[in-house]
């Protein structure tokens, strides 16, 4: 459609010519295809800048979205060749062990993290994370207006039950640290808001509930209520509690001890990494409040994150090497300031205690 040639679409120039030149080229092409009942690409300045279609004397124009990698695989290769890439090295020491069949957060164990930094936020207050947060995996800095994506990974584990061990790469956006386990309603302070993944057309975040600085006591206490704002930033959304969500951490996180994810009644099988959401919600933008069934000692952490990909470990000492462009279709967005971390879930034969290292391959254009 002619109206589709909006300056808003043209935030980046696709050719060596100007935006007006591109628009003129598309219009000229549209004039040329009237009565041609075929979709045809428009090549200008050596690139496809859109497509045109003609029928019965009319013509339609569809400018391409040229953010990211408009040329697809060729552009990915060209970006690597041109040095627009980064190999993000990570080193994680989870040697104190993660529980079998359960998800744990490796955040406190990431190199340069320091256990003291992992959960140092003000109690029940939104805390933002970026790539300069202590412990975040470096990924090559800001590249805007280019778009950076995950193009592959390499994973090497020394864990005791490593084969099949699943790792989830995530972008840690917000956390609420040091939340008390109390039967009194706790209202969060949300002065700071999510800086990534929340907005129109974006999926928002999921909630992990993990151990806090202090291990939970023996008193049985469940998470009886959690109110949040959803992906559309609509508040008063309610977490379902059909299935009991038990708060039961087994250890205190440290520089070598991953933080347990504590959710769900394990008598009904183990559990997934995220708290369930109200029907029709696809994500969360902030937590409003929560309440437990009983007072208990210890603290819990709510982490709002966006999962990026799953990585599966090979036997101990054997690297897992995946091309995320052709072998698996990853290409997940790494925003400026993304705070990268990992969850881990050892298989059910045993827990996993080891060190995890490797690299994440980033490419941008």
């Amino acid at each position: 459609m002619l109206a589709g040639i909006s300056p808003a679409v043209h935030t980046r120039k696709k050719t060596r010519f100007s935006l007006a030149d591109e628009a003129r080229a598309l219009l000229l092409a549209a004039d040329s295809v009237r009565y041609m009942d075929e979709l045809l690409p428009v090549i200008f300045g050596g690139k496809v800048i859109g497509s045109v279609y003609g029928k019965d004397g009319n013509a339609w124009i569809s400018p391409h979205d040229f953010s990211g990698f408009p040329g697809g695989y060729y552009d990915v290769k060209a970006s690597f060749n041109a040095g627009r890439s980064f190999q993000a090295v990570y080193n994680i020491n989870g040697s104190a062990g993660a529980n079998a069949n359960r998800w744990s957060d490796l955040w406190p164990c990431q190199l340069a993290q320091g256990a003291a930094n992992a959960y140092s936020g003000t109690a029940s207050t939104a805390r933002q994370f970026t790539d300069v947060s202590s412990g975040a995996i470096p990924h090559g800095g800001n590249v805007t207006p280019a778009v950076k994506v995950l193009a592959g990974y390499h994973l090497l584990s020394t864990g005791s039950s490593t084969p099949g061990c699943a790792f989830m790469l995530y972008d840690r956006v917000l956390s609420y640290d040091e939340n008390p386990i109390t039967a009194t309603l706790t209202t969060m302070t949300n002065t700071l808001t999510a800086q990534r993944w929340v907005g129109s057309g974006l999926p928002a975040l999921r909630i992990c509930m993990t151990a806090g600085k202090t291990v939970t006591g023996a008193t049985v206490s469940d998470l009886s209520s959690l109110i949040y704002a959803n992906d559309a930033i609509v508040g008063s959304r309610t977490m379902p509690t059909t299935r009991t969500i038990i708060i039961a951490g087994t250890s205190t996180p440290s520089a070598t001890q991953p933080a347990d994810l504590i959710a769900f009644d394990t008598s009904n099988g183990e559990y997934g990494p995220f708290l369930p959401l109200q029907a029709t919600d696809i994500g969360v933008s902030s937590i409003t409040s929560y309440q437990c069934t009983a007072n208990n000692t210890g603290t819990i952490t709510f982490v709002l994150m966006r999962p990026l990909c799953i990585m599966v470990a090979q036997p101990t000492g054997i690297a897992s090497l995946i091309d995320g462009v052709t072998e698996r279709f990853l290409m997940r967005r790494i925003y400026d300031g993304a705070c990268l971390g990992f969850l881990v879930r050892p298989p059910n034969q045993a827990g996993d205690a080891g060190t995890y290292s490797g690299r994440l391959s980033m490419v941008w254009q």
Binding site: D65, G72, V147, G201, L277, P307, F329
Partner: protein, 345 residues
């Protein structure tokens, strides 16, 4: 030649090949990738003295286009994380179970609507697996892959299905029972849609399904083949118990009732007949199977690429109500975390 299973133009496969080779020769020395237009369509691209053939699937004009959409300013990809179990009970080995009602992540689904009356599940009902932001006008969503992380013991087979239409709370009353079909299915027009019978409220015995009449994809009224079917029942389906799929005369059958060899599927159910009167109720589900997922080894994680492999970029209806049935080779229930990856354009 394997890439040429379908011709993209009105010319022959060899013509496509020749066009690509000719374009490659013509582009020597040009480092910018260029599309090759032949027969009015882009059949591939050339650059660096190589050529790349395009795949055509739904809205994606090739793998390059899929990459473009995944990396656009608002990424047109989503990872749908879910965790589903069969619940807290011992299952029968080698039988299929529907995890629809079990409260996990997402929360459990229910059996809404009047008894023996067609009910179209929408994406506002609880229980379905959500697939991310709604695409803008005219765009369609497609499966690109999956991760499966199985927790319990045994080997598991899963079928991801679209819960198209259901008849809930169907009584077990000897004789013919007519269904009420006020609302039609909103997707597939019966093509690929098959019938499952699941338990709802536990039955006081094991009745026999002696007849079932349905409307097939060609809008013909058809009688179910292979009757009678023994319907087994163990317990009610609820937030901690998956529903046993009842129409299995032997443990190793698939969860769907058979259709005739020349049919593509089922649009609705008109009536059913059982041989005895019992307490309890059953649910007829018109399901569109979408993908099979397999965890062959206890505790292992499995990753699937559905861009290149079956079910290649399957298009999901905008109102698809996705759910999961599972079959295990042991009496241990299933607890599986999975990530369905979708892209749209």
């Amino acid at each position: 030649m394997n890439l040429h299973l379908r011709s993209k133009t009105k010319y022959g496969l060899h013509d496509d090949q020749r066009a690509l080779e000719q374009a490659m020769r013509a582009s020597k020395g040009i480092i910018t990738p260029l599309p090759v237009v032949f027969g009015g369509k882009v059949i591939g691209s050339v650059g660096w003295n190589r050529f790349s053939k395009e795949i055509w699937a739904g809205p994606f004009n090739g793998y390059d286009d899929l990459i473009n959409k995944a990396t656009s300013s608002t990424p047109q990809v989503f990872d749908a994380w879910a965790y589903k179990t069969t619940g807290a009970f011992t299952v029968t080995a080698n039988r299929w179970y529907d995890t629809w009602t079990v409260a996990d992540d997402p929360d459990g689904g229910t059996f809404p609507g009047a008894a023996a009356t067609a009910y179209v599940h929408s994406t506002s009902d609880p229980g379905f697996i959500g697939l991310g932001p709604a695409p803008s006008g005219g765009q369609t969503k497609h499966l690109t892959g999956a991760d499966l992380i199985e927790t319990s013991t045994g080997a598991f087979t899963y079928i991801l299905y679209d819960r198209v239409l259901v008849y809930n709370a169907c009584p077990i009353t000897s004789g013919l029972k007519n269904m009420t079909n006020t609302v039609p299915a909103t997707r597939y027009a019966g093509v690929g849609v098959q019938i499952m019978i699941t338990e709802q409220a536990v039955l006081s015995g094991a009745p026999s399904l002696t007849a079932l009449s349905y409307t097939n994809d060609a809008s013909s009224t058809v009688s179910l083949k292979g009757t009678p079917y023994a319907l087994t029942s163990n317990q009610s389906a609820d937030s901690t118990h998956a529903a046993e799929i009842m129409n299995q005369t032997a443990p190793d059958l698939m969860p769907f009732l058979p259709i005739a060899g020349n049919e593509k599927g089922v649009q609705n159910i008109l009536s059913y007949t059982v041989g005895s009167t019992l307490t309890g109720s059953i649910c007829f589900v018109l399901a569109r199977p979408i993908a099979m997922l397999v965890c062959p080894i206890t505790g292992q994680s499995v990753q699937m690429n559905w861009v290149k492999g079956n079910p290649n970029l399957f298009q999901l209806a905008s109102d698809a109500c996705l759910a999961l049935v599972v079959r295990t080779n042991t009496t241990a229930g299933s607890q599986v975390g999975f990530n369905l990856q979708v892209a749209w354009g």
